[in-house]
């Protein structure tokens, strides 16, 4: 993945709670075998509605999504992250997130900035007052800022996720540095395997 240091740009507020991954990218979009092209499906059940906030020209080109509590709960589909990024979002700010969604985001370099509910409300207020206001999500300093309003808030990012984002590290590469430990675990583990249960066609072997 690409390294991420600072994200700067306009923000848009999706003022709803419990936006689950089915809403972010409906299941009809999950049949694709590619990783790209999901931006068109982002929030697709809502996109036809002219009053939907992403259709508001004042927010077009926003790179930062501000969302309500429990954003990204539900299904494990990483397609939700692909869709947000393909559409152009680089960071999501919300009071809380679904666990798997947060994990998936960290693998793709979508920055998850969790702020207190009141801070998120303030941020939404600042953006709605003036949609052209620049918002900064700084991974290095773990801060969300609205420089024009002198507004800065800290967010928590675990050290490992921060390092990975800043360096653009690939998780598999990181894990394979522990190849010896994996091999040694395997040599002592008693994990039952599937060997001998199924034949070459997946039929259960008679015993």
């Amino acid at each position: 993945m690409k390294a991420v240091h600072v994200i700067e740009g306009r923000a848009v507020a999706l003022e709803r709670s419990d936006v689950d991954t089915d809403q972010i990218i409906p299941s009809e979009w999950l049949k694709r075998v590619e990783r790209t092209g999901f931006g068109r499906g982002l929030f697709s059940e809502w996109r036809d509605d002219p009053s939907f906030v992403l259709n508001d020209p004042r927010y077009s080109g926003a790179h930062i999504l501000i969302a309500g509590p429990r954003f990204g709960t539900g299904s494990s589909r990483e397609h939700a992250v692909w869709a947000l990024m393909d559409y152009g979002f680089e960071a999501v700010v919300a009071p809380s997130f679904g666990d798997i969604f947060r994990n998936n985001s960290s693998k793709q370099g979508l920055v998850i900035a969790q702020l207190g509910a009141e801070d998120v409300d303030e941020l939404v207020g600042l953006i709605k007052d003036d949609p052209t206001r620049l918002v900064v999500v700084d991974v290095e300093k773990c801060q969300v800022e609205v420089p024009a309003a002198g507004w800065t808030r800290h967010f928590e990012l675990d050290a490992m996720t921060r390092e990975r984002l800043l360096n653009g590290w690939d998780d598999i590469g990181l894990t394979l540095r522990h190849e010896d430990e994996i091999a040694s675990y395997e040599s002592r583990a008693t994990t039952p395997t599937l060997t001998g249960i199924f034949d070459g066609h997946g039929h259960v072997v008679a015993r």
Binding site: D18, D20, L30, V33, N104, I172, Y185, I197, V204
Partner: protein, 468 residues
């Protein structure tokens, strides 16, 4: 030393490395794969020139996408077809056992693992699907992962993981007759809320849980994610071991007894401490139903549609209003007066043999209301064959239900089984999100017995009303 919880025991046993400043690395004993969340992971492997480290710990099935028409009917949707083919090709290329559409072992991934006996106590199990928590019924640490993690497990058989906090959900006392595992978990999700379990691994404990069959425990653990918890667990007991005995994936004879002895150790120690404990009184439980657009929006089947003006929290009131407007419901309406268009009996929550028996017991000798389309979709070919051997297919067909081929089907509407806009369903699945069963569809989650009664009366109903 203080005792350990079941979660901590499994964690300790699977810790490969705990490097400074990095997430601990956990070994994965079983990786279940399906067509929707895997193609991009296999592509990633090819791009990186990597192989599947342990094809012998990896098992694949087609489920999300498959049509539930007879196998003689070809897959007409070209994108679905491509995805199903990609699964077979990828598994062929990387040496993974796969059950394609029509295969005797094919079925919903969380149904086939347990029924084949490859889900066993003490294991770590992952799958690119959030309902992997189902396997926790077997005292296995099982959780859903995203596609990048699928690729990670394929390549390394490990996952970097943060240790979770532990929550005991204790359901004390004996559940009244007519209250199923589905009702217990709906009550739990309502109590915890959609985010209440976030960051926790939940262990379900107490008399009402011990009394459940393995099928019931799977229903329970299945919906752990609906409260935000990635995994749910039930400790091993003799119910677990009896279920596993004789399954294809378990050892036989003395080897089985040795394995069972080991499995019996996968329980929390008496003096183990949980970070949080939540208690429910089983004797107070009744049949439940969801009324809204998230699985924590639950009321008793006998109750009325909630009224937003009764909520003091303005957020809750506005969320309620939004949900009611999507669901097309008027506050104060008795739930049992609401008519339904579609009844879906299936999904990894409630498509096992016991679920079908419960639904058939209600349907036997009755007719589905003429205004209702009712589908029964067994969780796997094995469930389907067993049900047919017991004559349940004839009960359903005789009552006017459709009897379909196994798959996820209308649980998420990726195949042609979908609600049309505005249609209302009684569904035994696990998610009532907006559009989950088809664009504009309105989903109410219920148990199999309530679903069957609802199909017959054409409105939400309890089984005892059917014979009145």
């Amino acid at each position: 030393m203080a005792g350990r919880t079941l979660y901590e025991k499994i964690w300790d046993e699977h810790l490969v490395a705990a490097p400074d400043g990095e997430s601990p690395l956990l070994y994965i004993d079983l990786h279940l794969v399906h067509e929707v969340t895997s193609p991009q992971a296999f592509d990633g492997l090819r791009l990186g020139g990597r192989r599947v480290r342990r094809p012998d710990l990896t098992l694949a099935t087609a489920d999300h996408n498959v049509p539930t028409d007879p196998i003689s009917v070809p897959v007409t949707d070209p994108i679905s077809k491509r995805q199903l083919e990609a699964l077979e090709e990828n598994c062929g290329e990387f040496g993974i056992t796969v059950f394609p559409r029509g295969h005797e072992n094919q079925g919903i991934v969380h149904v086939i693992g347990p029924e084949l006996g490859v889900t066993q106590p003490g294991m770590t199990i992952v799958c690119g699907d959030s309902h992997t928590s189902t396997h926790g019924a077997f005292a296995a640490l099982a959780f859903g992962i995203g596609t990048s993690e699928v690729e990670h497990v394929l390549a390394t058989q490990t996952l970097p993981q943060q240790r979770a906090k532990t929550m005991a959900v204790v359901v004390d006392g004996t559940t009244p007759a007519g209250v199923s595992a589905k009702d217990i978990i709906l009550a739990i999700v309502a109590k915890l809320g959609t985010g209440g379990g976030a960051g926790y691994v939940v262990e379900y404990r107490g008399q009402a849980i011990r009394d459940l069959s393995m099928e019931g425990r799977m229903t329970l653990c299945n919906m752990s994610i609906e409260a935000g918890a990635r995994a749910g667990l039930v400790a091993t007991d003799e119910t677990t071991i009896d279920y596993l005995r004789g399954r294809p994936g378990v050892p036989t004879g003395d080897d089985f007894e040795r394995a069972a002895q080991r499995w019996r150790g996968f329980v929390s120690d008496d003096d183990a401490a949980f970070d949080t404990t939540v208690t429910l009184d089983a004797t107070q439980l009744v049949p439940f139903i969801t009324w809204g657009t998230n699985p924590a929006q639950v009321v008793a089947l006998d109750a009325r549609v909630p009224d937003p003006s009764n909520f003091t929290d303005p957020d809750a009131a506005s969320t309620t209003e939004r949900s009611l407007s999507y669901m097309g419901l008027t506050p104060g309406t008795p739930i049992k007066e609401i008519p339904v268009d579609v009844v879906f009996i299936g999904s990894c929550t409630n498509s096992r043999i016991e679920d079908l028996r419960a639904a058939a017991a209600v349907a036997r000798g009755h007719r589905v209301a003429s205004s209702v389309r009712a589908l029964v979709v067994p969780g796997s070919h094995r469930v389907k064959s067993q049900a047919e051997a017991e004559g349940l297919d004839e009960v359903f067909l005789g009552a006017g239900f459709e009897w379909r081929e196994p798959g996820c089907s209308m649980c998420l509407g990726m195949n042609p089984d979908q609600l049309t806009p505005g249609q209302r369903s009684a569904s035994t699945s696990n998610r009532n999100f907006e559009g989950r069963q088809g664009r504009g569809g309105r989903t109410h989650l219920v148990s199999p017995a309530v679903a069957a009664a609802t199909a017959i009366l054409g409105r939400f109903a309890s089984p005892d009303e059917v014979n009145q």
